[in-house]
Structure formats: structure tokens, C-alpha cells
């Protein structure tokens, strides 16, 4: 397949406007369809915000408001006062930075090694990895393993088992493989070994791809909850998403706890959701191109 240089990756066809390419009814139709689609994606967030600032007494009587006659930030106050939310944020930030760095390290070196040709054992390792994409042992042995490693109820359980993500690793491999071979060959002639070549030549060349993979990991860590849910008992190890689940999944009826005095209103739930997605909404428009480049290189070459 054709080599695609990342920097010059064309993401849109550029055509000179010719006579048949004048802006016409066809363009209007496309514009409208896409506008509707984009609207359908933005609207829920808008509605989410509206519900989160609507006082409960107004919401229960009329849940279909497009705007609320009385804006109240009480729900946000409740959410900000909740120590669990900040505890969750702390854990999630640790995962976001520590976890991402750790995962990047292992994923990138593995991707690099597998992108090189003709070394002893490469096929073995490659097959070893492919098998895991089809077969797994299931949850119970995984649980036993984590217990045997002494990891339950620690923050490590949310970091260590995620060392290598096969998809991201293949992305990195494909990218390294697409870089010109001559770089490696000339460095070898100069007497550099593989690790030196990797660190001094390939890493600096692949910064945009590293950013992409790093961002994929970061998003994954921001959204992480599964291992924490399975293995951790302590409140102070809950990730932001787990705290969010606790808030959102509070059943509307039948909690048997006689001491439950809190009422989780719809607006508090929505405020909690808004709190967890607002950082992504703020950063995403600026980072979007990295994500896009990553998926394009990965899929075309993979």
C-alpha cells in the first residue's frame, strides 16, 4: 500500500472550482443534512446543561423545557461540595498522567520492536499477540490472577494490567514501519545499536504520532472505571467515572437504607455528568487533528 506521509496527509479533496462546481442546490441540501446531524449531536449537551440548572420543582412539573424560567446553580454547588467528586478527580488525574506515561512507554517500545524486520522471535511474538485478540480466559481466572499478584484495592490495578493496548501498539508499529528504512541503515553503519536508533532517530521523528497515541491513552484513562469497579473496595480509590456512576445510577426508588437522607435530583445527576465531560469538550476542538491523523495512519496501514 502506498506510503502516506503524516504531515502531508490530505484530509480533504481539493478541487479547483470549475463551471459544474458552482455552489448550488446540491450544496444547500448537503449543508442542511450535515447541519441537522451536527445539531443532533450538540443538542443533548445543551439540554443536559439546561436540566442541570433547572430547579427540581420546575423540572418535575415540566421536563420538556428548552430553557428554564429560573436558573439555579444549586446542583453544581452540591456537586462541587461533594468530597467524593474531588477524590475521584484526584485518582483520575493520577491515572491520566502516571498511567498514560507508563502505558506509552511499554506500548511504544513494543510497537517499535515489532516494526523492525527479520529479528529472531518476531513472528512468535506477533502470533502470541494475535491469539489474545480471539481467546481470553474469562473473568474468574483474571480475578484470581489479580488477587495472586496482590493488587486488589490498590491504584495499581487500574494501571498495571493496561500496560499494552494492542490497538495502540499496532498503530505505533505501523507508523514506525512507514518511516524510511534508510534512517536505520545509515545509523547502523555508524555503529549505533537498536536502542540508540530508537531513542535518537525514531522517537524525535514520531512526535505527532506519540501525541496521538498518548491522547488515546489519556481519554481511556479519563473514562476508566471497569477494573476499579471489579477490584477496588475503598471509597478513596474510586475514579471520577465510578463516582459519576454512583451518582447517576442511584435508583429512583427502593433504597432500603434508613439513613439515606440525600435526594439525588435529576439536575444533580446532570451536573455531575457535565462536570466530567467539560474538560474534554474544552480540549477536544484543539486536539481533534491528532486523533484523526492517528486513526487514518493506523487503519490504512493496518
Amino acid at each position: 500500500m502506498a506510503k502516506i506521509k503524516l504531515e502531508k496527509l490530505p484530509l480533504a479533496r481539493r478541487e479547483k472550482p470549475g463551471p459544474s462546481n458552482r455552489f448550488g442546490a446540491f450544496d444547500v441540501v448537503i449543508f442542511i443534512i450535515l447541519l441537522v446531524f451536527a445539531f443532533s449531536i450538540i443538542f443533548p449537551f445543551y439540554y443536559l446543561f439546561v436540566v442541570s440548572v433547572t430547579p427540581q420543582e420546575i423540572y418535575v412539573n415540566n421536563p420538556t423545557l428548552l430553557w428554564t424560567p429560573k436558573v439555579s446553580f444549586e446542583a453544581y454547588e452540591t456537586v462541587f461540595k461533594e468530597p467524593q467528586i474531588w477524590g475521584g478527580l484526584k485518582i483520575t488525574l493520577i491515572l491520566l498522567f502516571g498511567g498514560t506515561l507508563y502505558q506509552m512507554f511499554f506500548t511504544v517500545i513494543t510497537g517499535y520492536a515489532l516494526s523492525r524486520k527479520n529479528w529472531v522471535g518476531k513472528n512468535f511474538v506477533m502470533n502470541m499477540i494475535l491469539v489474545t485478540m480471539f481467546f481470553g480466559g474469562g473473568l474468574i481466572p483474571y480475578y484470581e490472577l489479580i488477587v495472586a499478584l496482590g493488587m486488589p484495592d490498590t491504584i495499581w490495578v487500574m494501571i498495571i494490567p493496561g500496560a499494552i493496548d494492542t490497538f495502540n501498539m499496532l498503530l505505533m508499529r505501523n507508523y514506525f514501519a512507514s518511516l524510511p528504512k534508510e534512517l536505520e541503515e545509515s545509523a547502523k553503519i555508524d555503529g549505533a545499536n537498536d536502542i540508540q536508533i530508537f531513542v535518537k532517530i525514531f522517537l524525535p521523528l514520531s512526535l505527532p504520532m506519540l501525541a496521538t497515541v498518548g491522547l488515546f491513552f489519556a481519554v481511556g484513562n479519563w473514562n476508566s472505571w471497569y477494573n476499579g469497579m471489579l477490584f477496588n473496595k475503598s471509597q478513596n480509590l474510586k475514579t471520577l467515572q465510578q463516582v459519576l456512576q454512583d451518582v447517576v445510577y442511584t435508583p429512583n426508588s427502593s433504597i432500603p437504607n434508613p439513613n439515606a437522607r440525600k435526594i439525588t435530583t435529576e439536575s444533580i445527576k446532570m451536573a455531575a455528568i457535565f462536570f466530567t465531560i467539560i474538560p474534554m469538550m474544552l480540549f477536544y476542538p484543539f486536539l481533534q487533528r491528532f486523533f484523526v491523523k492517528g486513526i487514518v495512519v493506523g487503519a490504512i496501514k493496518g
Binding site: S40, I41, Y47, P63, T132, G137, G138, P141, I295
Partner: protein
């Protein structure tokens, strides 16, 4: 001639040693990965054998395998289990409809964005439609419940306008449509990126030739753009066939867990939710051994599907995936 032959014979072991020596740094780099996959993916694989035991937590997996081996009994049971075949059917339906819908929607979005002329709006649309991919299903499920839930949002508006409410969360068929639209909402934009990139790679000569022939834009889409993405589309479609039995556990789990509504369970219970309830539920449904048996059954069928599609792809002259 003789000399050459001898040299070749000698060079086999000699060459291997040399290759080993020259790959030592790469091998060093791969060791962590080998350890990682061995520990976290291969060690747990012996758990497959739970499917042939009556699992006992006090004896652990090894103990259960040696003391409580019951052969194919769990398999006999699951094929008689009244929820199994409906769940299997649902999995196939949901899985394949999802493949088709997400494929069509991705291509459609890609075509539209590709044809869009306004630069700024195009950027805006691309950023908007790819964003939901990065939200967790917890968030997406909550958004959908808020929008389409019975007492709020859209269904209430529809009820006010037409006098008849649409019960998205109370009716299996409507709920299925909600599952599919949530999938499109979340993933269509993201999956379209790859097609947009492929379309951008189509040679402009083809379009210019079409211009000279006086083709309309629809004709150009039909005769130039679509054939241009055919190879990519087929490849991606084949790759997705293997996942037909994983009809999206995380989505269904999150979209159904906020209401214990038994009205829709029949239409969205899939193999993975059965396995989940069996492995992590208490003892009210399947036992651990039986859910492991279902898991093994699913893995085997999934693996067979991948092999078959791969062979078909190769027969059709496409690049395989194995």
C-alpha cells in the same frame, strides 16, 4: 558449485547465531511485552477449563478442574437453557444490524463531508461529529435516557405534539432502535474519518475526466468516489464480521442498567450479558461453569467466523487479515 553448497550449509546455524546476536537489543525491548501478554492474557486462559467443571470457589480453578470435572454437562445444560437461544438470536440480529448500519452511516457521513464546500463549516462538522466517540457509555446512556426517557425530553415533546407518546424505554422494538441510533450517534462521525481520508486520496484526474464528460455531482459520486473507497470498505467490513457476536456489551449494559425494566430485556439480552450475569451475578441464573461454557462457545464461533471471512476475502482477491 561445491564450494557454494558447503558455504550455504554452514551459514544456517552460523546465520541464526548472527541474527540472534544482531537482534539482541530488539529482543530486550520486546521482553516486557512478552511478560505482559504471558501474565495478563495467557495465564488466565486456563480458566477456559472452568467450562468443564462445577466450579467451587474454595477449591479455586485448579482444584475445581481436578476434583469437580463434569465433562460436557455444562454444555448440555446451556443448550437447554430457555434464555440461551433467544440471546444467541438477539446477538446475531443486533450484531449484524449494527455492522450494516454503522457501515452505511459512516460512508454516508464521509460522502457528505467530502462534498461539503464550506471550509469553516466543514471543520466545525468534523469536530462535532467525531466528539461523541470519546465519551464513555455511562455518559452516552445517561444522555439518551434524559432525552428519550419516558417522563422527559423528546418523547414528552412528541406526546404533546401528537397526543401519543413513543415509549422508547418500554417497548422492545423502539428500544432496539434506540440502541442502534445511540451507536450511530456515537460512532458514525468517527468511523467516517477513514473513508474521508481514502476519498481524499482518489486521484483528481478521475474527477477532471468526469468533468469533461459532463458528469453531474451525483454521477461523480457514483462512478468515481464510491469505487475509489471500495477496497477500504470491503476490508473494514470483513474486519467487523468477526465481531458480530460481540454486539456491544458495554453499550447494552449501560443503556439498560438504569431501569430494571423487564419489558425490553427480551429484545436486548445478548450472549455477553448472559455471561456477565452468570459470572458476576449471585447464584440466581447460570453457574460459573455454565457461563464459562457459553463464553467458550462464543469464542469458538467468533474465531471460526474470522477464519471463514478471511478465506473468503482472500478468494475475492482482497488482502486477508490473518
Amino acid at each position: 558449485m561445491e564450494k557454494v553448497l558447503i558455504k550455504q550449509k554452514k551459514s544456517f546455524t552460523y546465520g541464526f547465531k548472527r541474527r540472534l546476536a544482531s537482534s539482541r537489543f530488539l529482543i530486550m525491548m520486546i521482553i516486557p511485552a512478552v511478560i505482559f501478554y504471558a501474565v495478563f492474557n495467557y495465564i488466565p486462559m486456563y480458566g477456559i477449563l472452568i467450562a468443564f467443571t462445577e466450579y467451587s470457589p474454595t477449591q479455586g480453578i485448579i482444584g475445581s478442574i481436578s476434583n469437580r470435572w463434569i465433562g460436557w454437562e455444562n454444555f448440555d445444560f446451556i443448550f437447554k437453557y430457555p434464555n440461551f437461544w433467544p440471546a444467541f438470536k438477539n446477538t446475531i440480529i443486533i450484531g449484524s444490524v449494527k455492522i450494516v448500519i454503522s457501515f452505511v452511516s459512516a460512508v454516508l457521513v464521509a460522502l457528505l463531508i467530502n462534498e461539503l464546500r464550506m471550509r469553516f463549516f466543514k471543520k466545525f462538522v468534523q469536530i462535532t461529529v467525531t466528539f461523541p466517540h470519546f465519551l464513555s457509555w455511562v455518559v452516552v446512556a445517561s444522555l439518551f435516557l434524559m432525552m428519550f426517557g419516558q417522563t422527559s425530553g423528546i418523547s414528552k415533546l412528541i406526546e404533546q405534539a401528537t397526543g401519543q407518546g413513543l415509549r422508547f424505554y418500554g417497548n422492545g422494538k423502539w428500544f432496539l432502535s434506540l440502541i442502534f441510533s445511540a451507536d450511530v450517534w456515537k460512532e458514525a462521525g468517527w468511523s467516517s474519518i477513514i473513508y474521508i481520508a481514502t476519498m481524499a486520496g482518489i486521484s483528481t484526474d478521475l474527477y477532471e475526466a468526469a468533468n469533461i464528460d459532463g458528469a453531474t455531482r451525483l454521477q461523480k459520486i457514483w462512478h468515481v468516489t464510491l469505487p475509489g473507497i471500495k477496497a477500504t470498505a470491503v476490508l473494514l467490513l470483513i474486519m467487523s464480521v468477526g465481531g458480530v457476536l460481540s454486539a456491544g456489551f458495554e453499550q447494552i449494559y449501560n443503556m439498560t442498567s438504569r431501569f430494571n425494566n423487564f419489558l425490553v430485556v427480551d429484545s436486548v439480552e445478548i450472549i455477553d450479558t448472559l455471561i456477565y450475569q452468570g459470572t458476576l451475578g449471585q447464584f440466581d441464573g447460570l453457574s460459573k461453569g455454565e457461563s464459562a461454557a457459553i463464553g467458550l462457545f462464543k469464542s469458538l464461533i467468533g474465531f471460526a467466523l474470522v477464519i471463514v471471512t478471511d478465506r473468503i476475502a482472500k478468494l475475492c482477491g482482497e488482502r486477508g487479515i490473518i
